[in-house]
């Protein structure tokens, strides 16, 4: 009799537990390529890292920085920031998080092909005591704390030693087996309970999760990668999934009008640009011709019509909210002035150029390229456009096969300097600066400013310099700025999406509330 009673009790408890358990069915355009957070630097991998690991600090919705595993931090000198870890945080394996894990993780990041660039300026961290660690840079580095958003401490005990194949557990392997590709132990809210690559990943809430303050109530997340835009939207509208990202612009109106789902958008930080190759075209060396091109391209029209208003027209690299965003710089579109400039430059008759763009990398990339090409036709520049899939595009981009090339760029450091280092500094094979500067724009003043801001820790001075850099590039018409793509998410009405999304596009699913 007693036995029966106990069984019934257990059953009731189990059932009531089930009633409380909230499951989120999530569809993204891709799934994590690995369980190893250091294998590849991509938006998808960082989204994954935020689910199963926690960073020392993270960006908030207002692009300020808040502590996660670190309780507080203070700058000791211009090269050192001391981080105090929260006590008693457990990894999924049961090991406790200590300063050793942070040291180990930063050292591993410096070994990772993809991350080593971001951690170029960092020395090995110094352990002060069990819960305190000093992060040290080689030179004064103003972006130290924002770079700490990339430090997701890994369970160093778990990832050390030899696996059953006799290989080092800490090894990072991009193309084959490694222990870290298939196993994980982090401090995050979720562990991965099942994973079929390319098919689905199941995340289960970790009972020993440290953050009891978080309102999040989702116990299980089933992530299905759905690459095809139409299929992903159909899955949401038919109720097969609860949440999708990204949302294709052509379907946004429909989702907004729908009764059971809602759309959340936010202006993004990825600038889409065209580069004018001065080494290939003599005319592009003339700033007047470059300005004429910028005046001829109606980027506000592209953002409004082609992007259906789901983009923010730009006149510079830095989006609003970045220190370097220069409010004086406004979009220029003036066909008369463009023709006038062409005349002054002595190219009234125009000329012929080639152009390449990807067709599956940015939102509407191919259409944008076509629109820009036809706009240039109005000032006598005949454009021969070729578009291709991204798998082939970047090699062609590097070879600089065309006179005008499209590139979109998001700053990994959420700072203006990054745009200039990669897109506008004089290309230099030795230093690696200007790696994606296929316009071959080269301006000593811009170069020296970009190098200066890297080590300028005085905020006010630094901001002035960054804004000056944007101003020079604008006056020089160093490149053609188009717009920043909006970020977009859509989900059922009962999901509190608004409070977990941010401009970095890492939804903090651990904090998601399902009503």
């Amino acid at each position: 009799m007693k036995k029966h009673f106990m069984l019934t009790l257990l059953l009731v408890l189990a059932l009531s537990g089930l009633a409380q358990a909230k499951t989120l069915k999530l569809a993204m355009d891709a799934d994590p390529v690995s369980l190893d957070p250091h294998m590849q630097l991509s938006g998808g991998m960082l989204q994954y890292s935020h689910m199963v690991f926690d960073p020392l600090v993270r960006w908030t919705k207002e692009t300020t920085i808040e502590g996660r595993l670190a309780d507080k931090w203070e700058r000791l000198d211009d090269k050192t920031v001391r981080f105090h870890l929260k006590k008693g945080i457990k990894f999924h394996s049961g090991n406790e998080l200590t300063a050793d894990d942070v040291v180990w993780t930063v050292n591993r990041l410096k070994e990772s092909v993809d991350f080593k660039g971001i951690f170029e300026q960092f020395n090995s961290p110094l352990k002060v005591d069990k819960y305190t660690v000093d992060i040290v840079t080689k030179v004064p580095y103003p972006l130290l704390v924002s770079t700490a958003t990339y430090i997701f401490p890994m369970d160093s005990k778990f990832y050390s030693g030899k696996d059953d194949k006799g290989m080092d557990k800490a090894a990072i392997n991009k193309t084959g087996y490694s222990f870290a590709n298939d196993n994980l132990s982090g401090t995050g809210k979720y562990t991965v309970s099942e994973r079929q690559q390319g098919v689905k990943v199941v995340f289960e809430a970790f009972p020993g999760y440290w953050d009891k303050q978080s309102p999040g109530n989702v116990d299980k997340i089933i992530l299905t990668p759905i690459k095809n835009d139409a299929t992903r939207v159909a899955a949401l509208l038919s109720g097969d999934v609860d949440f999708i990202m990204p949302v294709p612009p052509q379907d946004m109106d429909r989702i907004e009008k729908s009764d059971n789902v809602k759309l959340v958008t936010m202006s993004g930080t990825r600038i889409i640009t065209l580069q004018l190759n001065q080494n290939r075209v003599e005319a592009f060396k003339n700033p007047k011709v470059r300005q004429a091109i910028v005046y001829a391209i109606n980027n506000a029209g592209i953002a409004e019509k082609l992007m259906k208003g789901r983009a923010t027209v730009g006149a510079q690299n830095s989006p609003k909210g970045y220190a370097g965003h220069n409010p004086e710089l406004t979009p220029r579109y003036d066909l008369k002035k463009a023709k006038q400039l062409m005349k002054e430059a002595g190219y009234e008759k125009g000329f012929e150029v080639s152009m390449v763009a990807p067709n599956n990398r940015y939102v509407n990339d191919e259409k944008i390229a076509e629109a820009a090409a036809s706009m240039l036709g109005k000032i006598g520049i005949k454009v021969n456009l070729k578009t291709m899939p991204k798998a082939q595009y970047w090699d062609q981009f590097d070879l600089q096969v065309a006179d005008i090339q499209m590139i979109g760029w998001h700053s990994d450091t959420e700072d203006t300097g990054n745009f200039f280092e990669f897109l506008l500094m004089c290309p230099n094979k030795e230093t690696g600066y200007g790696q994606y500067n296929s316009g071959n724009y080269c301006n000593q003043e811009v170069d020296s400013l970009t190098l200066k801001v890297q080590a300028e820790t005085d905020e006010v001075k630094r901001t002035a310099m960054l804004q000056k850099m944007e101003r020079i590039a604008y006056d020089d018409a160093a490149f053609v700025p188009l717009h920043w793509q909006d970020l977009s998410w859509a989900g059922k009405k009962n999901l509190g999406i608004e409070s977990i999304v941010n401009v970095m596009n890492f939804p903090y699913f651990g904090d998601l509330v399902i009503k």
Binding site: S34, T175, T231, G239, D240, A391, W394
Partner: protein, 324 residues
């Protein structure tokens, strides 16, 4: 018979060899896997080191030699994306595609034979005319459109059928099947209808025209003259000879169907070979591409062999070379 099989096996090997060479030659132009595998801010030098490590900087015939040496031992290389042997990935994805093709074939068989035969026997009836008219329309609507329209109607508007994926699977050894659960059947319904939509009208028309031709022939006239029952003439004498060309075309079309699965699987996120192939192209996952092409080659040769054997059974006057 034995000689015939041995010859076929030999042919199969040649076909697969040629496919692998071609696959290898085109893989150079598919794109650069290293780009896919590294973040955008990785330097050119690092990328080149990585290429060197993967052996992608060697001339393609050197790479092919290496691949061939491994392939002989049954190793087709490791997929960059899945980080597992390509053969393993293919075998894991094959059941999904085979089930889809199987259900589609059943739909085609089930509908095309009665409809085709009926419209041959009663070519002037209203139903037959309507059927012929609509079959023209059916052939000309792309699979892609059919699929998307079905999803819109049955998933979004009516909410009857799931819009993507395979649903609940049951593992039989290494074969994940969706045919043993209700959920699995609900999931396979739309993709298989979409896939059969292109072939069904073709088969109806084929059976109809073959049957009409047979009904004109001398021996049928003789059968009528003998006073045999309608049923006997139509379903025994005429139908048997109608089947010959249908089997041949059916075999060839089976191969084409595998190609069509690429579209269907993409729309329905059906985790089979076609979907895998599309993704491998996008990711320049060369080992997987070559393995897929070889797999399809093997299937094609296999199907053709079976068709030839069945042909001999149905029509004893056809002699397969080598069969005594």
């Amino acid at each position: 018979m034995i000689a015939f099989m041995i010859r076929r096996l030999f042919q199969a090997l040649i076909v697969i060899f040629i496919i692998s060479v071609i696959g290898f030659a085109i893989k150079q132009s598919v794109g650069d896997p290293v780009r896919e595998l590294t973040g955008i801010s990785v330097s050119e030098e690092e990328r080149d080191e990585f290429r060197e490590k993967l052996g992608l900087n060697d001339p393609w015939y050197v790479q092919y030699g290496r691949f061939f040496g491994d392939a002989i031992q049954g190793d087709l290389g490791t997929s960059f994306f899945y980080k597992r042997p390509a053969t393993e990935v293919i075998l894991e994805k094959a059941p999904a595609t085979l089930e889809l093709v199987l259900v589609s074939s059943l739909i085609i068989l089930f509908f095309s034979v009665p409809l085709g035969v009926f419209s041959a026997i009663k070519p002037d009836s209203l139903f037959s005319r309507a059927l012929m008219g609509s079959s023209i329309v059916g052939v000309s609507i792309p699979v892609f459109l059919t699929a998307i329209m079905m999803v819109y109607l049955f998933s979004i508007k009516l909410g009857w059928l799931p819009s993507y994926g395979r649903g609940e699977l049951v593992m039989l050894g290494g074969w994940g099947t969706g045919l043993l659960t209700v959920d699995g059947w609900l999931h396979i319904l739309m993709p298989s209808i979409a896939l059969s939509s292109i072939m069904l009208p073709l088969f109806i028309r084929l059976i109809r025209s073959e049957m009409m031709e047979v009904l004109e022939s001398e021996y049928i006239k003789y059968a009528w003259a003998k006073g045999l029952s309608h049923r006997r003439v139509w379903f025994i004498h005429a139908f048997k000879n109608t089947l010959l060309p249908v089997i041949t075309v059916g075999g060839v079309q089976l191969g084409v169907t595998i190609a069509f699965t690429i579209l269907t699987e993409t729309v329905f996120q059906w985790q089979g070979l076609g979907f895998m192939f599309m993704e491998a192209v996008e990711r320049s996952d060369a080992p997987l591409l070559v393995a897929y092409l070889m797999f399809v080659g093997i299937v094609m040769v296999g199907v053709n062999t079976i068709v030839d054997l069945i042909y001999g059974l149905v029509n004893p006057t056809i002699r397969i070379a080598g069969v005594k």
